[in-house]
């Protein structure tokens, strides 16, 4: 019997704002418990919500990138239930009018339909200890976006790929740090099997998966568990389960025997805010580019090879710096190569941020083959990474360049030491010139611009030839 798998995801992502969604409490994940709490966050009577504009801007970025239709009327609703981590007895969310709806994200050539993307506030954090539970209200009120897909994902691998892409998107959009392990992005999965592809079957919800590998393990286990039951003619009960990482299986949490009525009601304290088309456009035009958009730009506009583009995109820090640097130079591949080789290596062996300014790196790049050789640029860059001033290093190199007198002497010396090469070049062997340049570099201990040396050597050889010819005459 063929069974069809139906998966839908509900993803909650904490937004990277300075303050909470509806109160002015600062957000700091390192703070001691219950130290970042305003009267509104613990629902003291009489407190009122005010909307965090930045949160709306970050949510709009997500709506845009997930191809949603954006609602220009910003409206909030109350979702009622009683629980100790929900001090108001309701959560402010967007039930009736989500900010974004009817979007999609393409995974493995399949368009995964997204039902909605909406804003809401996070609940307090319950910490279960031996025999009691404590509540930390620092988290209560942090802005969240909730992304809900339609149940159209048909394989565990696609579900994991979707999740991985969401993590990458929120990181690139700079709306979240995107760390599932830290609880900044949480995923609940709805999964069901059916004999008929157009039927959905009975849904089982799996909650609190905090990594993609756990997600993969949990879903695989659950699919097998359900298949087993179906094979033995047992029914699947609608329920909520959680993943037990130690036992490596999903475990029953609670039954879903009746639908909970949250008595959704528009929040009368938050009037409908009209977002003008111009403002929305402005917010979206300033948003950071996604991984895909950066790849397009690198290959189409900057004409980097696919291989180099992928290499550059391996680390966000690296390509963030790249885009900063190319504001000041058009030597795209040089920049890319320096980043992928020298800078990446340096980063691997050192902790801490890069201290060199993008403008300085760009300056260096622009001087290559004009006043410095490529190899020398790499050396100056390394010095810059170690804390030295790039401008000073470059200046110092300039000063080391030989005066024309010294240069002439060097050329003569090179030619005198290598008569065979001179002869070979005169016979038409161009490679001999390259050899002579190398010898010149060796003699000068690298302090000579090879292009300059090449020109002078060529001239020097011509002069020699002429003088020899003169002699012969």
């Amino acid at each position: 019997m063929d069974l069809y798998l139906h998966i839908g995801l509900e993803i909650h992502c904490e937004l990277k704002t300075n303050t909470k969604m509806f109160s002015s409490s600062p957000i700091d994940y390192q703070a001691s418990p219950n130290t970042l709490v305003q009267p509104f966050d613990v629902a003291f009577p009489g407190t009122l919500p005010t909307i965090n504009q930045r949160a709306v801007e970050l949510a709009l970025r997500a709506c845009d990138v997930l191809n949603c239709t954006i609602d220009s009327n910003l409206r909030f609703d109350r979702k009622h239930y009683f629980y100790p981590d929900l001090p108001k007895g309701y959560q402010i969310t967007q039930a009736f009018h989500p900010l974004g709806k009817d979007g999609f994200l393409t995974i493995n050539s399949q368009k995964i339909l997204i039902e909605r993307v909406h804003l809401e506030e996070d609940t307090a954090k319950l910490v279960h200890r031996d025999g009691y539970t404590s509540i930390d209200f620092n988290r209560c009120g942090i802005p969240l976006i909730e992304i809900v897909t339609r149940p159209v994902i048909t394989s565990v691998e696609d579900a994991c790929a979707f999740m991985a892409e969401i993590l990458r998107l929120v990181t690139y959009l700079e709306i979240s740090e995107g760390k599932m392990e830290k609880g900044q992005v949480r995923c609940d999965v709805n999964l069901s099997l059916s004999e008929n592809p157009s039927d959905l079957g009975t849904k089982v919800e799996i909650k609190n998966l905090n990594s993609i590998s756990h997600m993969r393990a949990a879903l695989c286990y659950e699919v097998d568990r359900q298949k087993e039951r179906i094979a033995h003619q047992h029914s699947i009960e609608s329920q909520t389960r959680r993943y037990d990482e130690k036992e490596k299986k999903t475990v029953f949490l609670r039954a879903k025997n009746r639908k909970v009525d949250y008595r959704y009601m528009p929040d009368p304290n938050l009037p409908c805010v009209r977002l003008s088309r111009e403002w929305i456009q402005e917010v979206l035009s300033k948003r950071p580019r996604t991984y895909q958009e950066r790849f397009q730009q690198l290959t189409d506009k900057h004409r980097l090879s696919n291989r180099l583009a992928y290499d550059l995109l391996k680390q966000k820090e690296i390509n963030d710096l790249y885009f900063e640097i190319v504001k000041y130079t058009r030597h795209f591949s040089v920049a890319a190569n320096l980043l992928c080789a020298d800078i990446r290596t340096w980063l691997k062996n050192h902790s801490g941020p890069i201290l060199v300014k993008p403008e300085d790196i760009a300056f260096l790049i622009n001087e290559i083959d004009l006043t410095i050789p490529y190899a020398k640029a790499r050396g100056i860059l390394k010095a810059g990474l170690e804390g030295k001033s790039i401008q000073k290093e470059w200046k110092a190199y300039q000063n080391l360049q030989l005066s024309s007198q010294d240069m002439d002497r060097l050329i003569q010396q090179t030619l005198a030491q290598n008569p065979k090469s001179v002869h070979d070049y005169l016979q038409g062997k161009d490679r001999a010139l390259a050899y002579l340049v190398g010898q010149c570099m060796r003699l000068s201990k690298g302090n000579v611009d090879p292009q300059r040396a090449k020109d002078l050597l060529r001239r020097g050889i011509r002069n020699l030839e002429r003088s020899t010819m003169d002699e012969e005459e």
Partner: protein, 452 residues
Amino acid sequence: MRFKDSIDFQELTRKWHTADEKIHAVASWCDWKEDSSFYVAVKDNISVAGTLMQAGSHILEGYRPVYDATVISQLRKHGASVFCKSKMDELGMGDTGLNTGGTPILNPYDLSRITGGSSGGSAALVANGCCPLAIGTDTGDSIRQPASYTGTIGVKPTYGRISRYGVLPYANSMDTVGFFTTCIEDAAYALEILEGRDPKDMTSSAMLPGHYKRSLDSNLAGKKIGIFRSVMDTIKNPVFQKSFEDLIHHLEKKGAHLIWVDLDSKWLDLVDPVYKTIANAEACSNHACLDGLRYGLQPIENTVEESIKHARTTGFSSLVKKRFIYGAYSLYEENQKDLFEKAQRIRRQIVQEYRAALEDLDVLLALSTPDIAPEIAEMDRSGMQIESISISHLKLDNLAGTPSLSLPLGFKQGCPFGLCVRSDRFQEQKMFDIAKAIEEYTGFAGLCVEAI
């Protein structure tokens, strides 16, 4: 008492205590400052940092706010000192002054009668000459009805004029902070002190503040005064009828144009049911935070669920619980369309009709209440009857957010009754102007019961 009256502080504090013993209007005393410009009573649903706030309910036993409501800061900025929190009907849901979580509030004019509510305590203190100003809130008539019963001026400004930050909510789409005074001049000044856009309250209005007191103009010539015939036709009491008729003859003599206003009874009969549906739903939602876990009554049971149940079962009176049940019921998914959503749609219609009538007028007049304050012994406590338009017309101003006040018009059996003067949104100046003219006619400026 009026703002301009000089204060003998010792005399005043003595008066406060004897008044409270007589009428039981004080919920808790505040730390007052001796040399303040004036003293204000504040309804016990408005947060004063450090002072007990019960809002008439056991569920808030022991609760002390950690912050001040915006109106408190504004009062203090103008030199006021809050001397007490006044008693009120539980959580703002009540119109008698009896369901206060403690002793009932007594009408200073007749101690066997109610003050009305839910701002009964504030009304009684002003009526008793304890202060020139007392702050209240009006969601369904909670300032204007007790003002009528206590012979005071009760003002409900336009929704959004005064910040609701720090005010325990009842029905947020209708809650309006207002106040009681004994003369129109003081009322005009009080609005200047209290109004203004508050960034902490997204529903507060950005309209520029007015200079109501200095612009007061009681000239009646040419003013378009609406007579609310739909309401007045339901008033049967001959004393009331005569007072009203004498007044409108006087207004006409002074040059006002009288315009008879009728609204379709189809809409008027729906005012109370629509109000109750919306208010109960919003109230039930707002008070979901009163779960006995973080402040107030905090019973410790074996599980969180049991604690919440215990707190909410013993902390709320049955009157309030009934309202919550109605409210929750109307919000259930299968009921919303026919109850909550329908009420909202009808509300829009009612408001449209009402404001269309107000648009062409300077003010609209009707008696605030159909009779004087009822006797306590005769009160029907269930509170769930549908009211007739003679009472429920006051709710029009809550549904529409329009400004409305009650000022004393006359006496019957030694008890006062009031006249309701209302205008279109943000037209408080017109409302105060005509009210001033009426006050000049009645001579009731500064009216209060002389303290024992």
